[in-house]
């Protein structure tokens, strides 16, 4: 049971108006609000979420990402998701949110 309660770890790296966040863990109803509460978007024009360590993105996670996207768009910025596993990518594709992703290599 060592795996119990996967938290969402967010490592932020800011360079000027660019912010990149490396996410690790699950994006479920318990962990997803952290995405909005821990990422400070002030003055950010470009947000890159590195999803390499994200195993699952449930609907609560999708909602948080959509919310970030709307907040960024308002301040003239944009969001990009990179390094998605094939499974997670399929979730974005089937909910029509794949325009947030970088084109598949």
């Amino acid at each position: 049971m060592a795996e119990m309660n996967k938290q969402l770890r967010i490592e932020q790296k800011r360079e000027g108006d660019k912010l990149s966040c490396k996410l690790t863990g699950w994006m479920d109803p318990n962990t997803s609000p952290d995405l909005l509460n821990k990422i400070d978007l002030s003055g950010i024009k470009s947000l890159v979420l590195d999803m390499g360590g994200v195993e699952y993105v449930f609907s609560a996670g999708l909602r948080s990402i959509l919310m970030l996207q709307k907040l960024l768009e308002f301040q003239g910025g944009s969001i990009k998701l990179i390094n998605l596993s094939d499974d997670v990518r399929s979730i974005f594709e089937c909910t029509g949110l794949d325009s947030l992703l970088e084109p598949k290599a």
């Binding site: 479920d28 909005l36 990422i39 609907s59 999708l62 970030l68 089937c94 029509g96």
Partner: protein, 783 residues
């Protein structure tokens, strides 16, 4: 229909009818009353809730307005005092400021500082700033300092109108403390000056204030208080990227929620009210906003509740109304019972005595003669009847004694035989069984049997002994005992029947024999082994195909020495069932000497369902309909066995969001163990999360005993997860789905979860059964 009611009603006692009539009238009246009360009260309760919420928000607004007035008064007083002193009188300036700040400290204002800024002769950076130092010991001192970075500290500084009027800044974050503050200020002139000389200002710490008020406001769990500035800017918001950054109008446009914009417009126009918002991130769902303006400053408060929670008292009210109706009916039941008893009591006494006479108990006499004349006549008639009957009975007794002696021995035999047949059906989730046995005479030659061989192996037997009556029943007793005992050896069924055959053969001088069919079902795997000894082939319904099982006939038991038997095997799917029967069924004859036959049996069997007792009833009724009163010439024995399948994958856990990860881990391990493909596992985990979270969020009123049971099962192609909860009736699969054709920038945020479930699973089903929500998801094992 009318006849039915009449005959049904006629069957029951006067007392029952009396009770029923009174009870129905009272119940209907009261129900009507309850409905009226309920319908009338609902809007009143709703109104009251709304009123409480509206009053609360207006109270906050009034308190805040009070604060604003206080602050403005201090500023005006200070400004007036400053206009009485000359430009270079620093000493008096200090006295004026000191008194102003003391006023602040003695008022209810929570503040971070007040200061006076003196306009410089040339440029801003050389201006003098008298700021107030708030010492911990409560003493106040001043220091004069130059602020190099004035604009940076006070972003609104440039926008202050250069006229002697009160001005309120927009809320901003104090650069030193990081708290949300707002500044009230007013330009002033020293004594005898023509130009403006500086600003007098007071800064109020808002963060402290709305933190305090938030605690007080939560008369429901989800209530959140939001403060909006005069431009509609959120002073506070649970999402830090909204607070002090976005206005309600901007959020309204972003989220495509025109209702939000309307709230903003109302507040700007100084109007209070309430509004329903389809999705608010404050409560992560539908919300109701109660809002009130703070008139003297043009700001506003919004009190935000989850819509669901606000409706809770109404639901509770309905429960209370329903419960009191039930209690009232129970009370009426007791009362009418008493009334009924009183009014027809004598009649009932008479009935009781007459019934006892009917059963042969003549001990009772009419000690207390009833008083009313009709009942009196009845009583006399019954008493006369009693003496006639007693006379007749005495005569009859003598003749009957002889006959009884013969019959009672047969009766004893019947009892012994009956007790040899198993009657207690075992309770198991894995299967269900029912049996029936109708002898043509008092004792029978047919029999069935069922028993566990070990924990997971269950045996069913049907057999028919040649001949009828006592000899057949004796031979049957021997056969049933042998089969059960030798089965316990756990050897193959071929061996079991060979042994039984051998022992029945030995000493079988009367040349009797037994046809028998026996099956042993492995409850874990559904594998059924069976053996036949000259018996009719049973019927099977497997994978919805209904047919006679293909059996090797073999020879009947007890005919040949050293006869051999073959064991065969068949797989039962969950839901499969077996019907074992004797020839009393297929060979039942009607008056035209036609036999019931296999075709009819197969046809009626095709209507069978998963309840064994039902199925036996179905066949029995069909046979009776066919023979139409022709007396049965042969015994009938039947056994119906329904295999539900073994369900190892069942867990029950609290329906709480915190448990979602634990549940998904369990589910994932189970699927990996069952060899599902990686893709299938992922898709099911994604979908199961949505359903679990839905149940955790919405199914239960109270989270205390909220539980959800999850059952997993699989067949050749699919893996299924079933969710069972006892919450309110609710099918999440019916939720609205987002329009995918809309550009992402225009997309609404809700409804994604249902979409995921529908896209990722290969089957979904929902039903409301036994007050439970039963929702099942299925994925193909290989993807």
């Amino acid at each position: 229909m009318k006849n039915f009611v009449k005959s049904w009603f006629g069957k029951h006692s006067i007392k029952f009818k009396l009770n029923l009539s009174i009870l129905t009238c009272v119940f209907l009246c009261f129900l009507g009353l309850m409905i009226i009360i309920s319908k009338k009260s609902e809007p009143i309760i709703k109104e009251q809730i709304d009123e409480i919420a509206q009053k609360s928000v207006e109270m906050y607004a009034a308190d805040f307005a009070h604060l604003i007035t206080d602050a403005e008064q201090i500023i005006i007083n200070t400004k007036n005092a400053l206009s009485q002193i000359s430009k270079d009188d620093t000493k008096t300036l200090n006295v004026v400021l000191s008194s102003a700040i003391k006023t602040v400290y003695h008022s209810e204002l929570s503040f971070s500082g007040g200061w006076v800024y003196i306009f410089p002769p040339e440029n801003v950076s050389q201006g003098k700033l008298y700021s107030v130092i708030d010492n911990d010991d409560g003493l106040i001192s001043f220091k004069t300092e130059k602020i190099e970075n004035f604009y940076h500290h006070f972003p609104w500084f440039k926008t202050v109108p250069r006229e002697e009027k009160i001005f309120w800044s927009e809320p901003y974050r104090d650069i030193e403390t990081g708290e949300v503050v707002v500044t009230c200020l007013m330009p002033f002139k020293f004594w005898g000056q023509k130009e403006l000389n500086g600003l007098v200002a007071l800064t109020i710490d808002l963060s402290e204030m709305h933190r305090n008020s938030l605690k007080g406001s939560s008369f429901y769990r989800s209530g959140k208080l939001l403060l909006l500035s005069k431009t509609g800017l959120y002073v506070n918001h649970p999402n830090p990227n909204v607070a002090l950054r976005l206005t309600i109008f901007q959020l309204s446009r972003m989220m495509k929620l025109p209702q939000l914009g309307l709230v903003g417009k109302h507040l700007v126009a100084g109007k209070s009210g309430q509004a329903e918002i389809p999705y608010s991130s404050v409560v992560d769902g539908p919300a109701i906003f109660f809002y009130a303006p703070i008139k003297n400053i043009g700001w506003g408060f919004c009190l935000v509740y989850a819509k669901d929670e606000l409706l809770k008292p109404i639901r509770q009210f309905k429960w209370i109304v329903g419960l009191s109706l039930l209690m009232f009916v129970a009370l009426m039941l007791v009362i009418t019972e008493r009334i009924g008893h009183h009014s027809v009591g004598q009649l009932i006494t008479l009935c009781d005595v007459a019934e006892k006479y009917g059963k042969g108990d003549f001990s009772e006499n009419f000690d207390e003669m009833p008083t009313s004349s009709e009942i009196n006549r009845l009583a006399t008639a019954i008493a006369d009847m009693k003496s006639d009957i007693l006379e007749y009975v005495n005569k009859e007794k003598e003749g009957a004694a002889e006959r009884q002696k013969n019959e009672s021995e047969l009766e004893i035999a019947r009892h012994i035989q009956k007790s040899a047949l198993s009657t207690k059906y075992p309770k198991s989730d894995a299967f269900e069984i029912a049996t029936t046995m109708v002898p043509a005479r008092l004792v029978a030659g047919d029999f069935y049997d069922f028993f566990f061989i070990d924990d997971n192996k269950f045996a069913i037997v049907i057999a028919d002994v040649s001949g009828k009556g006592i000899p057949a029943s004796l031979y049957m007793m021997k056969a049933i005992t042998l089969i059960k005992n030798i089965s316990r050896s756990k050897m193959g069924l071929d061996f079991v029947f060979e042994q039984v055959n051998q022992q029945l053969y030995e000493g079988n001088d009367t040349c009797m024999f037994v046809t028998a069919f026996m099956a042993v079902v492995d409850l874990l795997t559904g594998k059924a082994k069976y053996v036949n000894a000259g018996h009719l082939p049973p019927l099977i319904s497997n994978e919805n195909k209904k047919k006679f099982i293909n059996v090797k006939t073999n020879v009947a038991l007890g005919v040949y020495e050293n006869a051999t038997f073959a064991e065969e095997e068949i797989d039962l799917d969950p839901g499969a069932h077996l019907l074992l029967y004797t020839d009393g069924v297929t060979e039942a004859e009607n008056k035209a000497n036609k036999r019931y036959g296999n075709e009819r049996l197969l046809k009626i069997f095709s209507k069978a369902n998963s309840t064994p007792a039902n199925n036996l009833d179905l066949v029995m009724k069909d046979v009776k309909r066919f023979i139409k009163g022709n007396p049965r010439s042969d015994d009938i024995a039947m056994l119906d066995f329904v295999f539900h399948g073994y369900e190892p994958g069942t867990i029950t856990m609290p329906a709480k969001l915190e448990k979602v990860q634990e549940f998904l881990m369990y589910l994932r391990d189970d699927m990996i163990e069952h060899g599902l493909s990686k893709k299938a596992v992922f898709n099911m985990v994604m979908s199961a999360e949505e359903i679990f979270a839905n149940i955790a969020r919405y199914a239960y009123e109270s989270k205390d005993n909220a539980m959800v049971t999850i059952k997993t099962r699989q067949d050749d192609e699919m893996y299924y997860v079933k969710f069972i909860d006892q919450g309110r009736k609710y099918n999440p699969l019916k939720n609205e789905m987002p329009d995918l054709t809309v550009d992402i920038k225009q997309r609404k945020i809700g409804g994604l979860g249902v979409l995921l479930v529908k896209k990722l699973t290969d089957s979904t089903s929902y039903k409301w059964q036994n007050k439970q929500n039963i929702l099942e998801l299925g994925v193909k094992m290989k993807k």
